[in-house]
């Protein structure tokens, strides 16, 4: 088997394992990454919501916010893990497509 094939299989396995990135922080009661708090979180931390931050924070409405489906914020870890895997698949499909397109455009023909 070609090594690139093995690497793609590795990526497939990692996709299935990706919910670990959701479950472990939950288990160990770890919160947001530093500097990535939501508006509520920041108010709790510093006592106010910076005015400019408040204006810009909701600027972009991502189709799969935080690697989940919209309106699924209150769902259990099982559903969220499922959404996480779907997000990984969608994200990687787009990334790979974009990378191949850019690669084809830029690479030398041999």
């Amino acid at each position: 088997m070609k090594v690139t094939t093995k690497l793609w299989i590795g990526i497939g396995i990692l996709i299935l394992l990706s919910p670990l990135g959701l479950i472990l922080p939950e288990r160990f009661k770890a919160g947001d990454a530093w500097g990535e708090w939501g508006l509520d979180g920041i108010k709790e931390l510093v006592g106010y919501i910076p005015q400019g931050l408040e204006k810009l924070a909701e600027l972009w409405s991502a189709p799969l916010p935080d690697y989940a489906f919209k309106g699924w914020e209150e769902k259990g870890l099982g559903s969220l893990s499922f959404a996480y895997i779907i997000s990984a698949i969608v994200g990687i499909a787009v990334v790979v497509l974009a990378a191949f397109l850019i690669g084809k455009l830029l690479s030398k023909k041999e």
Partner: protein
């Protein structure tokens, strides 16, 4: 390490976009000169791996989370210019589709993770590897050290961007308009957690994959020479 919308003022976001545009342009030119068609799948794998490894949030119990970036691995595999493009693609998709990192901060996030980390990691790996054989243990260690150091450098530049905000924009009453924490808080917080935990994750991931590739097909690691030539 993904700066969200609202944490950077327009000056910082603008400067970072302005910095990245010529870097992306140069990257496209360099890749055009050096990338062989058969290396394109590696570009896609590097981008996919970077995207995916960033989803593996590692917790500090009771504290924050963080993750590896895979940028140094990408640089070792396909060279720094192609890696810059690969990691940028991952970051842009994360921002647009998943709201991970702000769209106003794409320039800043790409600067930290797709430029600083990629190039720092690449040169550290190169210097430590020296002229050692492609399958030598020295290269595995070099990959680990490069991963650790470069991720921390990216954490530092990210922290500086955060920490500059209260200095740059303030209301009359002294509240920050954007990121509320100054350099004195941002740098120890960001650097501390990356030195302590997340840097090691990047180190281990980078070293393990390099070791795996040495065993499987060391020629993949030699593509670096062709890319540079």
């Amino acid at each position: 390490m993904h700066i969200p919308d609202g944490y950077l003022g327009p000056a910082t976001s603008g400067v970072m976009y302005a910095a990245m545009l010529p870097i992306w342009g140069l990257a496209a030119r360099m890749v055009k000169e050096t990338l062989n068609r058969r290396q394109v799948p590696l570009l896609a794998i590097a981008a996919a791996f970077s995207f995916l490894i960033m989803m593996f949030n590692v917790p500090i119990p009771g504290g924050t989370t963080g993750h590896a970036v895979g940028a140094v691995l990408a640089a070792i595999l396909i060279g720094p210019w192609a890696a810059c493009i690969a990691v940028s693609v991952a970051l842009i998709v994360q921002a647009l589709l998943f709201g991970d990192g702000g769209i106003t901060a794409i320039g800043a996030n790409c600067f930290n993770m797709a430029f600083i980390e990629v190039f720092a990691g690449y040169y550290i790996y190169k210097v430590i590897s020296g002229s050692s054989a492609i399958t030598s243990a020295r290269r595995v260690i070099a990959a680990g050290i490069a991963g650790y150091a470069a991720l921390n450098l990216a954490a530092l530049t990210t922290a500086i961007m955060f920490g500059l905000q209260p200095l740059l924009q303030k209301t009359a009453s002294g509240e920050s308009l954007y990121c509320p924490y100054g350099l004195g808080v941002a740098i120890p917080a960001m650097l501390g957690e990356h030195l302590l935990i997340f840097g090691w994750v990047e180190a281990i991931v980078t070293a393990l994959v390099v070791k795996y590739l040495q065993k499987q097909d060391a020629r993949l690691l030699e593509t670096l020479k062709e890319v540079r030539a």
